[in-house]
């Protein structure tokens, strides 16, 4: 057993093992960062690597502790300077008749730098492991007035392997949520008042052993009732242009979409849909009831604010902080507090005396030449220090080639950095994603008869065109339900902030009557060759224009606006938004 322990210790202390551990951790870090789906940091091999590293650190820390203690206790004597990198000895006329011997050290605390640094790292690994095993995190969305009881279920919870589910020690009630904004409308500060105290972003609240945090997710909540019985809360989250949007699922395949322009709205925009059919679009104030086709009713009870609360339980947090402090302090000690041992011995030799001076730095010895020279200068006017100054290398290359080579390398470096910084080229796969996303968003905007849904993907030009096209359909009392059947990217061209993507597409369309969802006119399956013109605005590609690159092949024979108008009326679209 003793042999096993000793051999394990030797193994863990081997430089090759330590270098291997650092390399493996670096590779694991890179792997985890590049392919998050691999879950490298949650894998068994990563845990084993962490254990191995902790073992090496423990051995190193133990060894360094004994070594530092021994060095600290050992009195400094002239014998220690036999291998000093800086030594000088010479004779001079006697100044003092007695033997003078002085040895001393400066910045001895620097000896402990490596020990402190590695101890800190060990604490961090232990704290991290403790958190992974026994810590827990949870998140819940609370509406103003809602209480989260100790036994209540969290929306999501991530307990450690051996941890108990997170549980608050006392109930907390969200009393109010308030935020302040910059003049431009961006969120500046967010606070939530709970029965147990106030929490703000970056200001936690501690209840028992659990710390509560406020995330930046918040907004108005629509408290709705279906048929005056089933009450639910639809949480509206921040959407484009300072608006908030959310949705709620209802009975019989109903979906209701809500939107408002402020955190404390007086009414909500409401769109009710069943599948792809828009049933109605209207505005609803708290207390009002909406009758939906099929005898269903929707009542908006109130629009309080909601906020996302995060909870964390980590009993080893203090150890992690302690480890961080030790690591930072240790690293600083290693590179700034370098222990220096000095020795000055003056031996009388009758009318003359021999002077011996030595300096032994703990590390970075070549950097202390000047210090040693200064020390020597204090004892002799012109010491011969040639022996301690390393000679200059041979001179071979002409000066011009050096300058040209340096300039060339700098140019390569500059070019490399410029190239990397300009690596925003869009590949055909990325172009396909852009087009797919655009079509997905715009199809939904047509389906819901809500042009503002397209805001995140269209520029001003295309936005105006879409407003007209969707508006015309709403005036006709229909919405468009479209499905992309095939998409092929046939060309991508990019210049500065513009991107042109040519596609070949196949679509299936049909128009649905608002209110009933009945199909109007015939369905159509079309094929297009399209050209999308994207512009980059604030690192987002927006579609600024779309054109047919070739005449479209349209399946249906009769266009909607030349079909029988009687098929469209009567239609109740509710108030236009």
């Amino acid at each position: 057993m003793k042999y096993l322990f000793a051999s394990s210790k030797r193994f863990l202390r081997r430089p090759a093992v330590i270098l291997g551990e650092i390399s493996a951790l670096a590779l694991a870090g890179a792997l985890g960062a590049v392919w998050p789906a691999l879950h490298a940091f949650q894998s068994c091999w990563f845990a084993a690597l962490a254990v191995l590293t902790a073992g090496s650190l423990a051995v190193v820390v133990t060894e360094q502790f004994y070594r530092v203690r021994a060095q600290w206790r050992q009195p400094l004597t002239p014998a220690h300077f036999q291998s000093a990198p800086f030594k000088s000895e010479w004779e001079r006329p006697a100044i003092t008749p007695v033997l003078q011997q002085k040895v001393w050290s400066e910045r001895s605390i620097g000896l402990a730098g490596s020990l402190v640094f590695h101890t800190g790292l060990l604490c961090l690994i232990v704290a991290g492991a403790w958190r992974a095993l026994f810590g827990a995190e949870a998140v819940v969305d609370l509406v103003e007035g809602e209480t989260h009881a100790p036994g209540a279920v969290w929306a999501e919870q991530w307990p450690g392997i051996f941890a108990q589910p997170l549980r608050l020690e006392q109930p907390i009630t969200l009393e109010s949520v308030s935020g302040s904004r910059y003049a431009g409308g961006d969120l500046r500060e967010l606070r939530a008042h709970f029965s147990a105290g106030e929490i703000a972003v970056n200001h936690q609240l501690v209840i028992g052993g659990t710390r509560l945090y406020l995330a930046q997710e918040f907004g108005p909540a629509a408290l709705v009732e279906w048929n005056h019985t089933n009450g639910i809360a639809a949480l509206l989250t921040s959407a484009s242009h300072g608006s908030f949007a959310g949705e709620a699922a209802g009975p019989a395949g109903l979906n209701v979409f809500f939107r408002c322009q402020s955190e404390r709205p007086t009414n909500l925009e409401v769109r009710a849909m069943r599948g792809a059919a828009l049933l109605l679009a209207t505005s609803l104030a708290p207390g009002e009831t909406l009758a939906l086709p099929g005898g269903t009713s929707l009542t908006l009870r109130a629009t309080p604010m909601w906020a996302r609360l995060r909870a964390s339980h980590d009993s080893a947090l203090w150890l992690a902080y302690f480890g961080m402090i030790l690591t930072m302090a240790g690293a600083a000690m290693i590179f700034t507090l370098i222990k220096l041992d000095y020795c000055v011995i003056i031996t009388p030799l009758g009318e003359r005396e021999r002077v011996f001076i030595a300096l032994r730095p703990q590390r970075f010895a070549p950097l202390f030449v000047e210090r040693f020279e200064a020390l020597v200068q204090t004892h002799v006017a012109a010491p011969d220090t040639a022996a301690i100054i390393p000679p200059l290398p041979d001179q071979k290359n002409p000066e011009s080639s050096v300058v040209l080579a340096a300039a060339g390398r700098l140019a390569v470096l500059a070019g490399g950095i410029l190239f990397l910084s300009g690596c925003d080229r869009i590949s055909p796969a990325q172009a396909k994603q852009l087009v797919e996303r655009y079509n997905q968003v715009v199809s939904e905007a047509y389906r819901r008869g809500d042009v503002r849904l397209a805001d995140p993907v269209v520029g001003p030009n295309e936005g105006r065109k879409l407003t007209g096209l969707i508006g015309v359909r709403l005036d006709l009392g229909v919405t468009l339900d479209s499905h992309l059947l095939a998409l092929e990217i046939t060309g991508v061209e990019q210049s500065n902030n513009e991107l042109r993507v040519q596609t070949r597409e196949r679509w299936r369309y049909h128009d649905l009557k608002i209110g009933t969802g009945a199909q109007v006119g015939e369905a159509s399956e079309d094929s297009y060759v399209m050209m999308y013109y994207f512009t980059n605005q604030n690192r987002t590609w927006l579609v600024n224009e779309i054109k047919f690159a070739a005449p479209p092949q349209v399946g249906r024979k009769k266009m909607l606006w030349v079909t029988d108008r009687s098929a469209l009326a009567p239609t109740n679209t509710g108030p236009r938004l």
């Binding site: 430089p15 330590i18 270098l19 390399s23 670096a26 870090g29 890179a30 985890g32 960062a33 940091f41 991290g128 995190e137 969120l187 500046r188 500060e189 972003v201 970056n202 936690q204 710390r211 945090y213 930046q216 995060r310 909870a311 964390s312 980590d314 992690a320 902080y321 961080m324 402090i325 690591t327 930072m328 690293a331 600083a332 290693i334 590179f335 700034t336 970075f364 070549p366 950097l367 030449v369 100054i389 390393p390 200059l392 290398p393 041979d394 001179q395 290359n397 000066e399 080639s401 050096v402 300058v403 080579a405 340096a406 700098l410 500059a414 950095i417 990397l420 910084s421 604030n538 690192r539």
Partner: protein, 275 residues
């Protein structure tokens, strides 16, 4: 003139001074006019003044420090790097040759920033923390120290390759140069460690956990490990000066990727703050 226009004028004035400083350094070192080195340092120092004013104007304009947007981050990184270079040259005048590498790199960094989107953005609530200031400050100091280590490593390689010139001869020998390179790496390592430590405290305050393996957190950890590997390899394997110099250059490349490139490639919580 709008505050932004003033900012731009001051920024470009600083760039002009720095370029004049590089030319003066090159003239003094390559054509062996040591007396002109003082002028080169003064020219470079003069650039710090409009640069400081430009950063101060930016602060007044946007209401926060240089934490967001490449425009302000790169400019302030260059400011710190040049300040560190000048402070070092003030203490060690014999090392002026480092300016021939560090100064153009800093100008390049600043230039890259000036050609990016300068649109001011408000600080979101999560960034309104004292720990962010320390996190960013130490990050900039680390970048400055690593840049000096890069300059020392390049000069060291020139010497090891047998290149000679009057400006190279004025530098200390290979041993001293190598030790100084590693010490710059050491200072950068200390600052980088502190950057990660401060960031962890801030993350715990903001998000309830001090480490979350966010891609940029992971890359900063990888960079830290790369430097740790270099320092340990030098200690254990008694690396030669040439290997150390190449190691420093490789690690610097990784740190540049982590700070300037990866935030745009990997989706990360850090990406939103540095666009």
């Amino acid at each position: 003139m709008t505050p932004f226009a003033q900012e731009i004028v001051f920024h470009w004035t600083a760039v002009a001074c720095y370029i004049a400083g590089v030319i003066a350094f090159a003239y003094a070192l390559i054509f062996n006019h040591p007396a002109k080195l003082a002028r080169a340092k003064w020219l470079t120092s003069a650039g710090l003044l409009p640069h400081t004013v430009a950063l101060a104007l930016r602060y007044v304009h946007v209401g926060h420090g240089p934490y967001m947007m490449k425009y302000e981050v790169l400019s302030s990184n260059a400011w710190i790097a040049i300040l560190m270079l000048l402070l070092f040259l003030w203490r060690k005048p014999g090392w002026s040759a480092l300016a021939l590498v560090a100064l153009p790199a800093a100008i390049l960094m600043m230039g890259l920033g000036l050609f990016t989107n300068p649109e001011a953005r408000n600080l979101p609530p999560t960034l309104r923390s004292i720990w962010l200031i320390f996190h960013i400050l130490f990050n900039k100091l680390a970048v400055g120290a690593f840049l000096l280590s890069l300059a020392a490593a390049i000069v060291l390689l020139r010497k090891l390759n047998g290149a000679t010139s009057r400006w190279l001869d004025r530098l200390p020998g290979v041993e001293v140069l190598e030790a100084r390179t590693v010490r710059f790496v050491g200072f950068g390592f200390v600052f980088w460690t502190t950057t990660i430590g401060m960031g962890s405290i801030w993350a715990n305050q903001s998000w309830g956990r001090y480490w979350g393996w966010d891609p940029i957190e992971s890359w900063s950890f990888v960079t830290w490990l790369a430097y740790a590997l270099l320092l340990h390899a030098r200690l254990f394997l008694k690396l030669k000066a040439r290997a150390t110099a190449w190691g420093v250059i490789a690690c610097f490349g990784l740190s540049v990727l982590t700070v300037l490139i990866f935030p745009f490639i990997f989706p990360s919580m850090h990406s939103a703050y540095f666009q």
